[in-house]
Symmetry: C2
Subunit: 208 residues, 2 copies
DNA sequence: ACATGTGAACTGCTTCACAGCG
DNA sequence: CGCTGTGAAGCAGTTCACATGT
């Protein structure tokens, strides 16, 4: 791939794909950058620029073929293959994630959840087996998950992350409200509710 | 307030506060921009620039007073007062949020959850009453919540948002994986898991 | 005629580098 | 001397505007 693509661009591609799927299901054949822009809260120039990083798959004077563009975006985003996911921490957030249908819909297969709590081990979390955290390393060697989702308390998050990184997993989705340190070849995305709330608090406080 | 502050800046302030609280609890008195930067994965110049938007509360040659800076950040972020929150959608994500202690810790008080499902109405969700969504407008008029958290399915999200906006609530935290349209004076923060996952998928696919 | 694709201009965030002050 | 505070420089992402292709 030629250039390094900005994070914000990837997020928008993800948004475009969502609209395209909506269009696809309604049987529409073509869409313009302008239509895509309006739905995504951005501009047509931005849409075209975003897509131009990966090639030129529109027809001048016409727009983009909905199924073709959707297919190309899935390809770019790596949604062609099935990604295997493990959840670490079988608490409430873990449970909410385990039942989230968005995972499946987009080709993410949850293999198992892990916890240290003996009462939870051996049970099922929304149909997903809860395993003993002590067998993490053994399981990873066998199942080769691609992504680990961390839903453990903030105090344990860094320790658990280090352990996960050591198993060779390269992608982590972190729900602990803490900044994590990881090697450069490991991608960590953090969903920090506390931060979002404080952003709202700031917005409410500093209004004109 | 003089300038418009970037979203990224506010997020970092939020992160700084978290480290400061850690330092505070360990009884440390001063901290340098360099120490703050290392914990937050940024640079000392960035830290100083971020803080400089709001005044100059460091001591040259020494650093910042931990309790003083923490206090100022709480003030800037609007964490001095108690914000009242309602949750709309009493599903799994709603439940996970209802029990999340981070809310309380930072002065966010959850008043109630709302749902249309009769089986849920009247029950408690982690100690929080689940009320009938039809009484939303009446309740908002009386309780005056500041923030609404949306944990409803994507298809309903825009409709529910419109309804919430009409009640006069100006801050919304959205968990539905969809782009929402709101008036300019309403702040909407979206936590989109699907987008984060696709970001990871992209990272895994396009590695050197 | 119409909508794409893209170099060029612009905007704004980040980094640099150093003067200023304790 | 050490670390802050901040203009200036640098850089990245966004917007503009138009040539290009259908």
């Amino acid at each position: 791939m030629a250039k390094r693509i900005a994070d914000s661009t990837v997020r928008r591609l993800s948004a475009y794909l969502r609209f395209l799927e909506d269009f696809e299901s309604r049987g529409l054949e073509t869409i313009s950058s302008e239509e895509l822009a309006q739905r995504g809260g951005t501009t047509s120039a931005q849409v075209r620029k975003d897509l131009s990083f990966f090639g030129s798959f529109g027809k001048r004077g016409l727009g983009y073929s909905v199924p073709e563009l959707a297919g190309r975006l899935r390809e770019i985003l790596g949604l062609g293959k099935e990604w295997k996911v493990i959840i670490i921490g079988a608490g409430k957030i873990g449970a909410a994630l385990a039942q989230y249908r968005g995972f499946r819909q987009r080709g993410f297969l949850i293999l198992a959840a892990y916890d240290a709590n003996e009462e939870k081990i051996g049970r099922k979390l929304e149909g997903i087996p809860v395993r003993d955290i002590t067998q993490l390393e053994r399981d990873v060697r066998q199942d080769r998950p691609d992504i680990a989702v961390l839903t453990v308390p903030a105090e344990e998050a860094q320790r658990v992350l280090d352990r996960v990184v050591k198993t060779g997993i390269k992608a982590i989705l972190n729900f602990a409200p803490t900044q994590l340190q990881a090697p450069a070849d490991v991608t960590v995305k953090t969903v920090n509710m506390a931060m979002e709330l404080e952003g709202l608090s700031y917005a409410l406080t500093n209004r004109d």
